[in-house]
């Protein structure tokens, strides 16, 4: 047997290499992945050909609109739709009653929401009726003609009001307005605090945020016949409406057809779940007998759709004299809004990864999520983890300052070391890591920002002050939850050698379509250009849970690889017969199948396929693959105890960000001195990883740190537009550099881990730490708007004078 040498192609592959569950080849051996891969959908998007939900039109289509409650909390006494129904051009009017008592929710136990409210409205502008008409204007006019009699009720508008004794109840059967609570306890925090050299407690606040996608929700629905429903929605997880509409309309799953258009981003919540239009369009279509389209405005989005939970995090941390974490105890209070939605998951996530990225021997948390009469809170990129990571990494700097330890050094002392190959690191709550590149991330980020020189530099220049802040983050990858989490893929080889990759997974802009196709091409040994993706159409594609929990690359990727391997196996079996060898003695590379021991014995791809398909009796080559990692391997995370893996693997990030603070006004700007080092295992498509990492840090991260917050007044959103709600823009964007840290995780496809959410957790603490470095003030409640910084600076100056 020939010796394996670095960089030399293997002469013979050992049997056990073929049987390995995850393909890991030597890096030089990759043909498609691991280099810049142009996105498969780029051309369609850049020419305007790509159709998003609102772009799609069908014959005879009606437009729908929704009548909304003017009260944040009220009983519905009576609805009179007669005037709307008699308006010329109106073809159907529905109310909540049309849904026959249907409710839906995140889990069976939490089905507390109706498509349109029937007896009570619980947030301002909650939908109570809907109209379909021949054009948008008539539909809207008809909505205004629907007369609803309400009995306004007193409401609660933040968790502190909601938790008061005797407070009005948002849901009558939910005492104390508690939506969900968790109480976890690992080790012995009391003892650890008693033994700590330093203990400090701080309260941090994260803002109420919009998801921030620019494409508002939109949906088109029609009934090809009375028992089949087709829906084309702007949904990043099309199998959610698939299941929920099947329940709602009492149809077998096989009769619900969701066709996925191009999606203008998702970020969790709303496009990952249902809102009124998603139920109203199918119901209006059923009633009118015509297709119905509903397109929300940004006003609808910003006032009624799902938001990121505002959270109040009280964190108590004990450390040794040299700054090593001994214990963390958190109390988290969050505002879940009017309905349960995904709050159980959002709040669970605040604690589950507390043992990452730093070594933590003791941890206790009490989490309380309250119902309020505000629009519901749900998932958002960086889901759950970002709140407590923000608190943790800012408090770490506070402690470092008290102890006189350099913030980079502090992090290096606490960082979890990368486990040696074959070893697993286990956190106190039984999360398992095969790889953890955070140490290398910190070192590389500090080096790239030139921390050693810059920390000695003069920070104040005229009326401006400059500072650099560090933060580390982690994010779960390939999320594993209970319920149906399997996913599958098919690779169909057409007789002319062209290949279909058929998937239930959705690319919402993160680039998964491209990376899946690339992995299929890599496994099959052909080019990316030979693969044509067949996107989600639930009539034809296999089920997939959807785009959330950073699962698509890792889990749908696994399914794609397995499907490609299955198809490859069939082809190699046919080829092996021709050459009189065993299939495992052959391989396919550069569009050629060849005998490994004697590469001259080869057959080009197209001929191989034709031969396999036509040689009597011929074959239909469909490779099938599933992901099993999503539902098995380790113990699933237990929501009650906080024990168990929530991810298949975990990404790690370190960010260094410089800010400029205008000492006269409090305006904070990110400068171009901005570095993110990210361990995503192996970057399958490096430029895509770059944009995802940079974008994840900037939009939800810096957005939370400096700009974004819904201002509320008793349930009324005071800034429901994208200028008053300051979504981050281009002029203020730092030209961030990304450094890839490669750890080759054995549980990810080709060693990959997630690359979209880790940096959402680092930006906010890095910016806040940078503001402190520049000015000495701590801003603990986000966003650090100019006024807040201004008063903090003034207070500090005045304290200094005394």
């Amino acid at each position: 047997m020939a010796e394996k040498k670095q960089g030399v192609k293997k002469q013979r592959m050992k049997k056990q290499d073929i049987a390995k569950p995850t393909v890991i080849l030597k890096e030089e051996a990759y043909s498609v992945i691991g280099k810049p891969i142009p996105r498969v959908d780029a051309k369609a998007k850049v020419t305007g050909e790509a159709k998003y939900a609102a772009d799609i039109e069908v014959a005879d289509m009606l437009w729908g609109a929704i009548t909304r409650s003017p009260h944040p909390h009220a009983r519905i006494i009576h609805i009179d739709t007669s005037k709307a129904e008699s308006l010329p051009g109106v073809k159907a009017v529905i109310t909540g009653k049309d849904f026959g008592g249907f409710r839906w929710g995140w889990s069976r136990e939490t089905r507390d929401e109706e498509p349109l409210a029937t007896t009570k409205v619980r947030y301002l502008y909650e939908g109570v009726a809907a109209v379909a008409a021949i054009d948008e204007d008539i539909a809207q006019e008809a909505c205004d003609l629907i007369e609803v009699e309400y009995e306004p009720l007193p409401g609660v508008f933040d968790p502190f009001e909601a938790m008061k004794e005797g407070a009005p109840l948002v849901h009558e059967d939910r005492k104390g307005n508690i939506c969900v609570e968790y109480h976890w306890n690992f080790g012995n925090v009391e003892k650890a605090f008693a033994e700590s050299y330093l203990v400090r407690e701080d309260t941090f606040q994260t803002p109420r945020m919009a998801k921030g996608y620019i494409e508002p929700p939109a949906v088109l629905a029609y009934w090809p016949d009375s028992t089949h429903l087709t829906v084309i929605p702007a949904k990043g997880s099309p199998y959610f409406p698939y299941r929920i509409l099947s329940n709602c309309f009492n149809l077998p799953l096989s009769n619900v057809r969701i066709i996925q258009p191009f999606i203008g981003s998702d970020f969790g919540g709303t496009k990952n779940d249902m809102v009124s239009c998603d139920f109203s369009a199918p119901m209006l279509s059923k009633k009118s007998g015509k297709p119905v389209k509903i397109v929300y405005t940004q006003f609808d989005e910003l006032t009624t759709c799902l938001r990121r939970h505002p959270m109040w995090v009280t964190m108590k941390t004990g450390v040794t004299k040299d700054g090593r974490l001994k214990a963390i105890q958190t109390k988290v209070i969050s505002d879940g809004g009017a309905y349960t939605r995904m709050s159980p998951l959002s709040n669970f996530l605040t604690g589950i990864c507390m043992g990452l990225p730093y070594k933590l021997p003791n941890f206790k948390t009490d989490v309380f999520c309250y119902f309020t009469n505000n629009p519901s809170s749900a998932a958002m990129r960086g889901h759950g983890i970002y709140h407590t990571r923000f608190a943790g990494d800012v408090q770490m700097d506070m402690i470092a300052e008290e102890l006189g330890i350099d913030p980079v050094e502090m992090r290096l002392r606490n960082a979890i070391e990368n486990p040696k190959p074959g070893k697993i690191y286990e956190t106190i709550n039984k999360l398992h890591l095969a790889t953890c590149g955070v140490e290398e991330c910190i070192e590389k980020a500090a080096q790239a920002i030139q921390w050693e020189e810059k920390k000695k530099a003069e920070r104040v220049k005229g009326s401006k002050a400059y500072g650099i802040g560090f933060a580390c983050g982690t994010y779960l990858s390939g999320t594993k939850l209970s319920g149906h989490n399997a996913c599958a893929a098919m690779v169909r080889i057409c007789e002319d050698g062209s290949v279909n990759y058929v998937t239930g997974a959705t690319d919402v802009g993160q680039g998964s379509d491209t990376v899946m196709c690339a992995m299929v091409a890599e496994v099959l040994g052909i080019g990316l250009e030979d693969i044509d993706i067949k996107r989600v159409d639930t009539a034809h594609t296999p089920v997939d849970p959807g785009t959330y929990g950073s699962r698509v690359t890792v889990l749908a990727g696994e399914a794609a690889i397995n499907a490609a391997k299955d198809a490859k196996r069939m082809l190699l079996e046919a080829a092996a017969k021709e050459f009189g060898v065993k299939p495992e003695e052959m391989n396919i590379k550069n569009k050629k199948a060849f005998v490994k021991a004697n590469p001259e014995m080869s057959i080009p791809w197209a001929r191989l396929v034709r031969m396999a398909c036509y040689t009597t009796p011929g074959m239909v080559i469909i490779g099938r693959g599933q992901s099993s990692r999503g539902i098995s391997t380790y113990g699933l995370a237990d929501f009650t105890t906080g024990i168990g893996d929530i991810g298949t693997n975990y990404s790690f990030t370190a960010q260094a960000q410089e800010v400029e603070v205008d000492l006269e006004t409090g305006v904070v700007k990110c400068t171009d001195n901005s570095v993110i080092a990210h361990d995503c295992g192996f970057p399958l498509n490096p430029p895509a990883v770059d944009t995802q990492v940079v974008g994840g840090a900037y939009h939800p991260g810096v957005g939370a740190a400096l700009y974004c917050e819904f201002e509320m007044d008793k349930g009324l959103t005071l800034n429901p537009n994208l200028v008053d709600y300051k979504l981050p823009r281009a002029y203020e964007a730092p030209m961030t550099k990304v450094i890839h840290v490669i750890t080759n995780d054995p549980f990810g496809p080709f060693g990959a881990k997630e690359a979209s959410e880790g940096s959402t957790c680092t930006a906010a603490p890095a910016v806040i730490n940078a503001i402190h470095h520049a000015t000495g003030v701590w801003i603990k409640d986000l966003p650090a708007k100019p006024e807040k910084v201004f008063w903090a600076l003034k207070e500090k100056r005045e304290k200094g004078k005394k």
Binding site: T665, R729, P786, W791
Partner: protein, 290 residues
């Protein structure tokens, strides 16, 4: 948006006839960058819309060394921003336009539309006030000239009769040794200023004493506010750092700023101090160079 009857006059006379005919019920739309937002939100629902965007006779800029600048009401913000004449002789106008909203808004929105909109947070009015601009208004009955100062009456209310149209903005040649600057507090580039200040400083030839000062604040009251007390701090004196600080503080007391989602009245008052000083300081530096 509610339906309306629509006219697209090609001449000023046509437009004025329509305004006279539909007095009170007709609204002018120029670039529509302010109007359309109000109409889409249902805040105004005119029966008649007179679209004057097509009156090319009102799209011009002329400059004369004696008579100064004449800007047709339908000149776009972008044209003002990019005009070499304006950049050379009235640089503050170009600078102000660069920071106004986004390029798309400036490409279609007009200076006339902006002035007639009456937004106390707007930038052009304070700058034109410091430049001592005058407006030519016209109706079928005739013409009248009004000072830029005094044109704004209240939030979204200006001194324009229902049958009148803004025709032209006239900006006199500044006196020698005059510098004009504009500063506003933005969180993001293109924001409406949390507060803003336009300042004009004229120095006496020879001894550098301040002969005249104009300071106008935006978003510090219900209309663009001329901070006359602050001006009096500077006039007749040799301006130094302390005096600039004092002017800022005095202006801050004159202001009566709003509280909204972007800032409290208290913070705005503090920022008036900062921005009056910044604008006046830059104006002073420019005055010294002229």
């Amino acid at each position: 948006m509610k339906d309306f009857e629509y006219f697209a006059p090609k001449t000023v006379e046509e437009a004025l006839s329509l305004l006279s005919q539909y007095k009170g019920e007709a609204k002018i739309v120029a670039g529509g960058q302010s109007m359309l937002v109000l109409m889409r939100q249902g805040l105004i629902a005119p029966e008649y819309v007179v679209d004057i965007k097509g009156i090319s006779a009102l799209d011009y800029m002329t400059y004369d060394e004696r008579l100064g600048l004449k800007i047709g009401a339908l000149t776009t913000h972008r044209a003002i921003e990019k005009s070499p004449i304006i950049q050379k002789h009235f640089g503050v106008l170009s600078e102000m336009e660069t920071n106004l909203a986004t390029i798309q808004t400036r490409n279609w929105g007009t200076i006339g539309g902006n002035l007639c909109h009456g937004d106390p947070a707007g930038d052009p009015v304070p700058v034109l006030m410091t430049l001592d601009a005058k407006l030519k208004l016209k109706s079928l009955s005739g013409e009248r000239m009004v000072a830029m100062e005094g044109f704004s009456k209240d939030i979204l209310e200006v001194d324009l009769e229902p049958d009148e149209m803004l025709i032209e903005i006239q900006v006199p040649v500044p006196r020698s040794h005059t510098g004009v600057a504009h500063e506003k507090l933005m969180v993001m580039q293109g924001d409406a200023g949390i507060v803003g200040a336009a300042a004009s400083i004229t120095l006496k030839s020879g001894n550098g004493i301040c002969e005249d000062a104009r300071i106008v604040l935006s978003n510090a009251a219900s209309i663009p506010l001329r901070a006359k007390e602050a001006e009096r701090c500077l006039i007749g004196k040799a301006i130094n750092e302390d005096l600039l600080t004092e002017a800022g503080e005095v202006a801050s007391k004159e202001a009566d700023p709003p509280s909204d989602v972007h800032a409290s009245a208290e913070y705005r008052r503090e920022m008036v101090k900062v921005f009056v000083k910044r604008a006046a300081k830059r104006a002073l530096e420019m005055a010294r160079l002229r």
